[in-house]
Symmetry: C2
Subunit: 626 residues, 2 copies
């Protein structure tokens, strides 16, 4: 059979049913050819997706960047064979690519979808992330783009056990995202056996309704019923998100595996695949495109406008917290209409509240739900907005899986963590970010910044706005003297030498709060007649190797690195890695860091106890000088 | 007023009301004396806790280790003044300690509670963690200890926005934890303003009921009603956990702040505190203890029994995946009756299913809820069990905040992450743990292990059982040759030199999969007549500095470190940090790691593409040799 249907013709229901069988067959063919993948998890959702793409998804396949397009997110990313079978049916990839590319080295048809494909918005495969990301896209649609596109999400039933799914439905309801439709493929079987709730659609319904969603239930293999329900879901005129609960069978359409355990994530051996394809009525070559969106007339990327960003200016020596400088700079950046901010219920501490007050229409309160906070940033970045998301540095650890996946999505997001390190004082270790630099440095393609003063903080916030990938800025709770005059440049990848002379005998490297303690230690060394170079390593990744190598060369190879962070993976590691990469052989580096579990106390007490106050640095420097 | 009440007398309701006022007053006194803390968040819950500790909590204050004791977890850890005021009322800390210790340097009365105090089970302060931890304690009570203790948890309303809370209620219902009671202090106000749901107790009730809990509602300032509801909650004869929704007022009892915004986390200035104390009827000196538990007769720590652990034995050269060795060793460890396992719905991949099959009564399936997975491990560790929790290495990033807090709790938990690195092949980057070593190394007091073969994997699993703190084992998907004979020792903190001669000119350092690629590269170098030392760095933290320093000394200071991980914070950093700490000046280290975003492919293709296969190591070695 070969039909070619284009969007000028409405695909009728029998043909959508045929498409469902084709998607199953092609999912089987792709996974069997690759020798890996998830055919049965694709087959359970094939009818749902066939009806969706043939009759409801408004999508211009030739222009994936068209702002008016609906969005389709596979939160159950392991159903990638189904997604790629859809792309084949839409004619945007060839059957040859499907069969020879899937899961192969160098191919864009990866085991789980990524935006290496222009029709994929976000990388999925870590379950429970697609729906939170989609909440961000739907926020953009309703509040920023103000376009009528819908965001359709295919969820698995197993991933409904992830708390992040409920953060997402909660926020979708709070923000009245009637443009969001989650289709849950309730096939009753997870990887190692049945799910918690089996086919208890009513239990899922009670949960989704309690979290504020409109719920529709459907037999996920009844084409007519699916069509009616998706029509209803897509035409949502209310103010609630929709959750479609579809009762399905894993492996549906192939009697040897249908609704059976032990077929998760297993391709069919070739002979078995051949039997499956026969049972499904053979291969088909349908080329199907559904309805087009109304052209939006919007540019592909949102217009930044021509508002001028006037960074705040700070007096040298004035005491200003870098978190306050973040708030000031973010509010200044708000002159760009594409800049968006969000926070996890601590905006009066992070100072994101300044942006919220100035630009309430571009600020999203995410309450205490850090996974959704980061996912919302990823989601609005899909539409080209420039999100800044803030909470305490410690609490970004809650969202590490989302941050890691944002890098796989190649999303451009900006995270700002305040209250870092023991410097925070009395609140104690639960609130101290002491792992964040290690965590953020290990993210692929990330940028990690840690300013010591308000001038550099503001400059770096501005630089982040144009930085691709995941960038992270660490701010400090307390107010410390402004070290740099207004207008000073802080290129990402640079460092500042705050003190230097031809007589330098040692180098003190700090970032953030420890720049101040390094300066104090250098002053004491100077009183002893010892010249010390002081480096402000505000760009932790990428790091300024040249400045470090020069310091090693000029100061007898002696470096003390002080950081308000655990000793592993942070600033000390960044310095050592940089010197190693430069092939710098002859140096000795003393790493000062927070080695014991801290408690409460004042900033000074805790910095001193960790040995990263001026006294500890001085002692380490003297020891190195011998 | 001074009353001294002990557990031989039942505290009557009017006196419980008095205690509620005392707890408010003492919360105010503590936070005002410290100049920081959260009095208003303590005041809202004071009546609830007064009635609980005076009349319902079965607790032997003189024997906090008594296994029959009820447990009390402050999930809203910022209400620490209230908790410490309770300890004062119980007479286990003095008023002097409360007033001069709270939030001070060196004191155990930290800003947020930690187990530095013997009456605190787990550290809290990162919201949404106390309840998941309590699920673990309740699992231990019902299924392991089989004791009638109850686990009472004070939750804040703001933290109900954390997905982890819903993972917890879901699992509590799934495991029919009628011994778990969550008391939600619905005071309507978060840090920066109102919560999402204000005082909509019915909305909370719908959610909790939909997730399987029994729900009771109460006016949180009506002593009589509280008493009735807590009595009902504690006498739960059903099979559901209980959620008590209490409508309260933040700052209750002091008209200047009651139910007002902008008083979160702010102590009252002294004059204001004095007015508050007058309004609350002045200071009291009630000493109140509630009912005692029935003595359990159990030892404080669970009995490990005398079952002999017989580790699996593997033939040299046989191909066995380290994840399989984990399953084998864990099942062998099951001979110890205190060993418990849990997994996040991937036990047939991690091989935890072997333990589940052998010891179903000590295995807990946590489905796809990694935060609850780690929290359950923390919870059962509170009762002295020896938990092993497993999922894919990548998915432990989902629980990083829980892992970080487990370290603050000084919990002894064991995490095992399978499918690490690009070695996993076709599934692609969403499933590749490439940040886990950096993440786990940065955890305070952690142990990080990465065996290269089945023999060492099994030995290290056994060593983890007796290891304090948070320990992490990384396993590999594919099967590789067994390198070590049965019985070989693998002390934590050690390393193995797999090839060495007096003529070694370079050292190749690997761990896990890269030990095999280092060996292959060494073989090729040997064919060129170049002797290379090969180090299996199976203990990534602590690391064997002596073996590394000796290698530097013996092999011309030339090291190549190859790791299946991003280049930041992993094995390369561990080597550099160790050499720096040893003051080793003259070395040059080439770090080979996964520098580009990987896609799908075979293990070999992906290892080679990342430059951590034999060819990449060979090339780096030749470059170093010049």
């Amino acid at each position: 059979m070969t039909y070619t249907i284009d969007s000028t013709t409405e695909v009728d229901l029998p043909l959508a049913g045929e498409l469902g069988r084709q998607l199953r067959v092609d999912s089987i063919r792709a996974s069997t050819s690759a020798g890996s993948g998830h055919p049965t998890s694709s087959m359970s959702a094939a009818d749902l997706l066939a009806v969706l793409v043939a009759r409801h998804l408004r999508y211009d396949w030739d222009n994936p960047g068209e702002p008016g397009n609906d969005h389709l997110v596979f939160s159950k990313g392991h159903a990638s064979p189904l997604l790629y079978a859809i792309f084949t049916a839409a004619g945007v990839i060839t059957e040859d690519e499907l069969l020879t590319g899937y899961r192969r080295f160098g191919s864009r048809l990866e085991g789980h979808p990524t935006p290496a494909l222009p029709w994929v918005d976000v990388a999925t495969g870590s379950l429970g992330q697609g729906l939170p990301d989609a909440v961000g896209i739907a926020l953009a649609g309703k509040y920023l783009d103000r376009l009528p596109y819908r965001v359709w999400v295919l969820c698995g039933d197993s991933e409904m056990a992830e708390g992040s799914i409920w953060e997402a439905i909660d926020k979708a309801a709070y923000y009245r995202l009637s443009n969001l439709i989650a289709i849950v493929d309730v096939n009753r079987l997870g990887q190692r056996g049945p799910t918690e709730l089996f086919w208890d659609l009513d239990a899922y319904a009670r949960r989704a309704r309690a979290f504020g969603a409109r719920v529709l239930q459907v037999d996920g293999h009844d084409i007519t019923a699916i069509d009616r329900v998706l029509g209803d879901a897509g035409a949502n005129s209310g103010d609630r998100p929709t959750v479609v609960l579809a009762r399905t069978r894993k492996g549906d359409g192939f009697s040897e595996v249908e609704d059976r355990e032990n077929w998760h994530g297993r391709p069919f051996p070739p002979a078995m695949a051949a039997r499956a394809i026969i049972e499904l009525g053979g291969e088909r070559k349908l080329r199907v495109r559904g309805p087009l969106p109304k052209p939006s007339g919007h540019p592909v990327r949102p217009d930044a406008g021509d508002g001028q960003v006037r960074l705040p200016r700070y007096e040298l020596g004035a005491k200003v917290a870098t978190r306050k400088a973040y708030g000031d700079a973010l509010a200044a950046l708000g002159a760009r209409r594409d800049v968006v901010a969000m926070d996890g219920e601590v905006s009066n501490s992070t100072h994101a509240d300044q942006f919220a007050a100035a630009f309430p229409e571009r600020y999203f309160e995410m309450f205490i739900a850090e996974q959704q906070l980061v996912a919302a940033a990823v989601g609005v970045s899909v539409r080209g907005y420039v999100p800044f998301a803030s909470t305490f540095a410690a609490f970004f650890t809650r969202a590490y899986d989302f941050i890691r996946m944002a890098a796989v999505s190649q999303a451009d997001i900006r995270l700002v963590g305040s209250h870092a390190g023991v410097e925070i004082g009395a609140d104690g270790p639960s609130q101290m970010g002491l792992e964040d630099l290690a965590m953020m440095r290990a993210v692929h393609g990330s940028t990690v910044l840690y300013p010591s003063d308000a001038t550099s903080a503001a400059a770096l916030v501005r630089a982040m706005a144009d930085r691709p990938g995941v960038s992270y800025l660490r701010t400090t709770r307390g107010a410390y003297p402004v070290l740099y005059a207004p207008g000073e440049g802080f290129p990402i990848g640079g460092a500042k030498v705050l003190a230097s002379s031809p007589d330098d005998r040692i180098t003190l490297v700090g970032a953030g709060i420890t720049v101040h303690t390094c300066l104090a230690a250098a002053a004491e060394l100077a009183a002893d007649g010892v010249h010390a170079r002081v480096i402000d390593l505000y760009s932790v990744k990428p790091v300024d190797t040249g400045t470090l190598v020069a310091a090693v060369r000029d100061t007898g190879g002696r470096l003390v690195v002080a950081e308000d962070h655990h000793p592993e993976g942070g600033i000390g590691s960044a310095v050592l890695e940089a010197l190693a990469a430069a092939g710098q052989r002859d140096h000795v580096v003393t790493q000062l860091a927070v080695r014991e579990l801290p408690g409460s106390g004042t900033s000074e007490e805790l910095l001193d106890a960790a040995g990263i106050g001026a006294a500890g640095i001085l002692q380490a420097a003297r020891a190195l000088l011998g």
